[in-house]
Structure formats: C-alpha cells, structure tokens
C-alpha cells in the first residue's frame, strides 16, 4: 500500500531539496569559478570553469589566518566550558528525584527556546560593565555568550542520554563494590561517550558558526572569527562574489569535516540509545 501518491511525495522532497541543499551546492561551485562566470546571467548551474583565483586572492589580501585562529580560540573555549557544565548538570538532572529537577527541566525547555538575539543585549551590557569588551579579551566574552546560548540544549541532550542509561547499571556497580562516585565514573560516563561526542559537535558547530556574538563583541579587523568575517564583503559596490563564496566555504569546511568524522557517534547520541 502506498498511503500517499508518489507525485505528492516527489514534490515534497524536491521542495525540501531546493530550500536545504541548493545554497550549499551553489556556494561550493562558485568558490572555484572566476568571478565573471559566477556573475553571468542566466547562471551556469552545472560544474565547470574551475579556477583557484578566489582562494589565491583571499590568502594574499585578507588576514584570513588570523580570523581562523580567533575562530579556533573561541570554539575550543566554548566547547570545553559548555560540555563540562552540560555533562554535570545533565547527570544531576537525570538522576535526581527531587521537585527541583522538574523545575530545572522546565527552565531548560524555556531557555532552549531563547535565541541568541534575545541574549545579546543583556550580555552586552553585562560584559561591558565587567570590562570584558576591550581588545583581544573580548574573545572571552564571545566564549561566555556561546556557552550561555548552547548550555540549555546541551544539558538537555546529556540529560536525555543519561535518562536512557538505566539506573540499575549504577546499582549493579554499587552491589559490585563501587562507591556512588566510582559507579558513575566507571559505568555511566563510558556509556555516555556518544552523547559527549554529540554535544561536543553541537557546541563546536554553534561556536564556530556564531555570527551574532562575534560581530557584536569582537573589535574587528584581525580579531574576528571567520564566520563573522565571511559576511563583511556583502553589500560592497564591486563584490568579488567568488571570493565571498570562498570565505564562506573555508568557514564551513571544518564543520563538514567534523560532522563526517564523528557522524556515527553523533547519530547514536541524538537517538539516545545505549544499545
């Protein structure tokens, strides 16, 4: 039986592919074309006219290496901080029986919905008052902001995963001679490896791609992340579109790489199963 007609299904999938896949395809294509080909109308939709012109001028004319370094600092800092908090809080929420837990879970659900735009104004004011927005130490502000943004969902992911690890496993360890702390360390944490990987990827991607916090808090120039820098050519009168696409592609590459490497853990972590 086919409960829905094939035509409808095909249509839906094509619509989906159009909105989700084509922009990425177009970016990859344009980054390796001469600007003239990119600008022609109607556009050349099939691959062809390979050129490294954009890449070469990028490394020659922009502080792209410094942007990448800033991105790396922000990303590593945000990831370490967030994963630590999310793991501890997620475990605490998952294993606690008290009323407080229900409330905290509720708070997370709300906080999960808070977008960066909502956070940025109060964070800006707080960081400014704390003197964090001067020069290079603004990187710390970006890290804290990313953490503030990513912690709720990361905590929720860890909690959901810990929820899927039966508490009987720790109880078996207690009976087998462990203390509560070693029981967690030796039985639950190893089992949570897929969730840790998933949360790491999530925070990595959020932090690496952050545009809002970096653009708002960082002073600019060389001290800018690659993701934020990638948009700064937009709207110029004479745009080198292939160059813009090349920056965007370089900014996107680590995300794709990370995803492809850790994809299996990530899926396991998302689906939350221990088996």
């Amino acid at each position: 039986m086919r409960p829905i007609p094939t035509a409808l299904r095909t249509l839906a999938l094509v619509a989906f592919a159009t909105v989700a896949i084509i922009p990425v395809y177009w970016m990859a294509l344009s980054a390796f074309r001469p600007n003239a080909v990119v600008m022609q109308w109607p556009p050349a939709v099939l691959p062809g006219s390979f050129s490294l012109e954009a890449m070469r001028s990028l490394f020659a004319e922009t502080p792209i290496l410094s942007w990448l370094a800033t991105s790396l600092a922000v990303t590593v800092g945000s990831t370490l901080l967030t994963v630590t908090i999310a793991t501890l809080a997620g475990y605490a929420l998952s294993r606690s029986r008290s009323r407080l837990t229900g409330l905290a879970g509720y708070a997370i659900l709300i906080a999960k919905m808070l977008p960066g735009t909502l956070l940025i104004v109060p964070l800006y004011v707080m960081f400014f008052q704390a003197g964090l927005l001067d020069g290079r130490q603004a990187v710390i502000a970006v890290i804290l902001a990313n953490c503030s943004f990513a912690t709720p969902f990361a905590t929720w992911m860890m909690k959901a995963f810990f929820d899927g690890i039966p508490k009987e496993i720790e109880e078996a360890a207690l009976i087998d001679g462990c203390s509560p702390f070693t029981a967690m360390l030796k039985t639950v944490l190893p089992a949570a490896a897929p969730a840790l990987a998933a949360v790491t990827i999530y925070v990595f991607i959020v932090a690496w791609n952050d545009f809002l916090f970096a653009r708002t808090f960082l002073p600019g120039g060389e001290t800018m992340t690659i993701a934020a820098a990638s948009t700064q050519f937009l709207g110029e009168v004479e745009m080198a579109w292939n160059k813009v696409m090349a920056v965007a592609l370089i900014a996107a590459a680590p995300v794709f790489a990370m995803f492809l490497i850790l994809e299996r853990q990530f899926v396991a972590g998302l689906t939350g199963g221990t088996h």
Binding site: I165, I169, E171, A172, I175, D176, K186, T187, A191, T274
Partner: protein, 353 residues
Amino acid sequence: MSGLEIEGLRKAFGSTPVLRDVSFEAAAGSFVVIVGPSGCGKTTLLRSLAGLETVDRGAIRLDGRDISDLTPAARNIAMVFQNYALYPTKSVRENIAFGLRQRRTPRAEIARRIADACEALQIGHLLDRRPSQLSGGQRQRVAIGRAMVRDPALFLFDEPLSNLDAGLRNDLRIEIKRIHNKMGTISVFVTHDQLEAMSLADILVVMRDGRIEQIGAPYDVFRKPVNKFVAGFIGTPAMHFLAAHVEDGHAVLGGGSRVEIPSLAAVPNSTLVEIGVRPDDVSLVGQESGAIAGLVDVTQELGTNRLVRVNTVAGELSVLQSAHEPRPAGPVGVRLSPQRALVFLRPSGEILG
C-alpha cells in the same frame, strides 16, 4: 543463626506505606520466592535487602549479622535485575569480572571463577562480545554469571525473566534453580507470575498491599490458602468462587443446589460464604439430580486436557476434563468434589477451618 532473618520491616514513600511490618525467615540454602500483584511492595522489599532502599524501621540479618545499615557493597550479596543492567561499554568478560576486580580478587582466581560460570551457563563463546551484541536470554545468562562468580551469601533476583519469551523463560528458570541447588546459598526471587513462583520456590511468600498474606511450601499454599485473595491469585487455571449460604451443614448455592461440605458441619445456619472451586476439582455430568445445571459457554483445548467454561445457575465455573472425552455442548450438569472445595467467609474472605 545461619540464614536470612527479616524482622518488622516498614517503609513509606512520602505518606504512602509500601512495607507494613514484613517479617520472615529463611534457612540456609532455601529458595524464597516473593510473589504478588504489581504495587504489593515485593520489589521494594528486595531492594531493601540489597541496600538500594533504606527502610524506616526493622532489621535484616544475614547469617546472624545485622546488615540493615550497610552499603550495598558491604552486604556480600549479588543481584540480577529485570533489565539485565549489564555495563554497556564492557565486554561480557569484563562485566563478569568487574565485581571481583573491585574486590581485588587475584587474577588467576578471577579466571577460574569465570570459567566455572561459563560452564554452568554456556556463555563461554560470548566472553568477548558487548552486551548490545547479545540476545535477551544471553544477556540474562551473563547477568546471572556476574552474580554467580561473586559467590555471595545472598542471591537476589528482581523479576529476571519477565522480559523474555515463554520458552526461554522456562529454560532459564530451570538453570537458575540448578545453579541455586549447586551453590547452596539463599536465593530471594521476586516475580508477579504465580506459576513461575510455584515452580521455583521452596518457600513461597505471597504479598499484598505491603503485607505478607501467606508463607509456605508452594503445594501447601496452593491447597490450603489462608484467604480468598491467595486462593484466587495462586493456581492456573484460576479458582472460581460461588456465593452461597450455610444450611444444616450444606452450602446452598444460587439456584438452590445444595452441596454437603464436611467443613460446614459445625457452621451456624445462614452464614454467608463463598465456595472456592478449582477447575480440576469439578466434573461434567449429565443433567442428573444433585448436579448444578448449566450451559456450556466456551471450550478451550489445552493439549492433554480441555477447559470448559460453564454458565451455571450458581455462577460461572470452569471444568478441566481430558481431551479424550467428547467435546461438550449445550446444557450440562456440574458436580463439585466436596472434599476439595474451599470455603471462605463473606465478606472477610478468610478461609473457614
């Protein structure tokens, strides 16, 4: 004293009591099965023995030593869980060895005990697998092995077979009993399946609402239940109950049939009772005088036997008969066996005599 003594255990979750003064004793080597409907407190009792729950009052003594306040690790017990609770990231070998390693057992001793467990449970070929690569039955074998190698003073089983299908459940039941017989420690086994309870127990403990209703050997509980609850809970196919009142040593059933029951001889007239009748204590006869008149409702073939449900004037009855006999239909008579019928007082449900 050698053995397990439980004395006056009480526990409440908030204001809901789950154990109300639970006491029993089990001699060394006995297989205790705690059975009861869900919510009767049986699992809480088991977890209290393990030290995974603290009790509000009462004492647990194992071989004369009070273990009520010890940590689970210090009680020298082992437990098999319903969901297996294997360590998911460890191999089967590491799972079995974990408890011994934590106790710093010498390497050679660990290897010897694992070999023993593998032989008893036929899990030798699984040692290098992860729990996720095992079937449900294999996981539970490994969990039993993990408990066994510890050579504990007390084995606890928390409905270990209820996630397995019927055939496997029966096989593992036999293996658990075999291992118990071989090791000679005390086992406490919790289940909601009364047939499983009967078939495993030396000592059967029937619980309801946080209280022990009856303790005894399985056959004694089956034949001499203390009240209607136990009578109805233990035994497959289940007992039927017919409302009646007493008249001159007879039970007068609905529809007016009179059955002379020895235990009613000294009971005052008009006493309200219920007659408990197991399907193998009644027989189908013709529509002769003295038999309870009824109509065959549904018949179920069971193999060697057949279960016939009959709607009688006195109430619904099931009759177990040999499948050799012709399949009954239409109007029939049912005759009780007065010696085997149990009499319960209404409304208390207590057994008479």
